[in-house]
């Protein structure tokens, strides 16, 4: 009986994470249709980060990492941007590590906004690092401040959106009970 209920819970959790990942992919596609990068080339809204942040809030680091890998690989497949796959991956991992550290080690000192802003900043740092390795020059870091400032603005927006989503999801009994945390 106990075994059965754990399995059902795991299945449900896997399903929820898959849904999160697919939403993140769709948000990535929507984002690619918005000509936001005109003002600052290379800047991104980072809408997919809404799902990563929500996943980190509810589930474990491993689950969130799975979500990020799914999101990055799927987005590269759909948008056909394999030439920039390495940059996306480095950015996503940098952002993930920063947000994870702030949520788990920050002991509640940081709200979703701060976590999201830091995630956005580290996303840009990771991408630039990958670019510096590929191009063999650190000169492209001249671009960092522009990306950083735009990352702060979009990070605040993403953090607010994730906050709304988390509050809405907590209306659902299953998210509030957090059975997965005890098993």
């Amino acid at each position: 009986m106990m075994q059965w209920s754990t399995d059902a819970m795991l299945l449900r959790k896997t399903m929820v994470i898959s849904v999160f990942a697919s939403i993140a992919v769709v948000l990535g596609i929507v984002e690619s249709l918005i000509p936001f990068a005109v003002a600052i080339p290379g800047a991104k809204l980072g809408l997919g980060n809404i799902m990563v942040l929500t996943c980190l809030y509810f589930f474990s680091a491993r689950d969130s990492l799975a979500l990020i890998m799914l999101k990055t690989v799927m987005t590269a497949f759909i948008l056909g941007s394999f030439s920039t796959f390495l940059f996306s991956l480095m950015g996503a991992l940098g952002s993930f590590l920063a947000m994870l550290a702030m949520l788990r080690l920050g002991r509640g000192r940081f709200g979703l906004l701060g976590v999201s802003v830091m995630g956005g900043a580290m996303h840009n740092a990771g991408q630039l690092l990958a670019a510096a390795i590929v191009l063999g020059t650190t000169k492209i870091f001249y671009y960092f401040p522009f990306l950083l400032v735009s990352g702060i603005v979009t990070g605040i927006f993403v953090g607010m959106a994730a906050g709304h989503l988390i509050r809405a999801l907590e209306q659902i009994d299953w998210f509030r009970r957090r059975e997965w945390a005890s098993s």
Binding site: G42, S83, F110, V117, L135, K139, P145, I152
Partner: protein
């Protein structure tokens, strides 16, 4: 917004300001230079150096990764065509001041304007790899 959040934003803004200011203090590239050159780097290796004050010209860069077209005109340079997926290099527009840069990441093309003698030294902060 928690206090920690305000700190994060504050610290990041300071870092951004630092990245803006430091190259300007250490590099002497703001000096009025008579000649400007565009250094073109492809895939980490030097590709070509062109004088920007000469005649207008278009530079075709064809590599296994793709195709880029640079246009030199009136002391500046711009990416006017590229078959990369994001076209960010074209969005970066025309650059004309020393220190200006255009990057096409998918094709690993890097253009930087340097002042002086053909840009042998790279003339700026951190001329590690040219």
């Amino acid at each position: 917004m928690k206090r920690g959040d305000v700190w994060i934003v504050g610290v990041l803004l300071v870092v951004a300001a630092g990245f803006m200011v430091v190259p300007r203090l250490s590099g002497g590239q703001e000096a009025v230079a008579a000649v400007k050159y565009a250094e073109i780097t492809v895939d980490g290796a030097h590709y070509r150096t062109v004088a920007l004050d000469g005649a207008d010209q278009e530079i075709d860069i064809r590599t296994s990764r793709g195709h880029n077209v640079l246009k030199v005109s009136r002391g500046g340079i711009a990416m006017i065509d590229a078959d990369c997926p994001d076209k960010l290099c074209i969005a970066m527009g025309r650059i004309s001041a020393a220190g200006g840069k255009i990057v096409c990441l998918p094709h690993r093309v890097f253009v930087e304007i340097v002042a002086g003698d053909g840009g042998a030294s790279g003339g700026g902060y951190d001329a590690v790899v040219n």
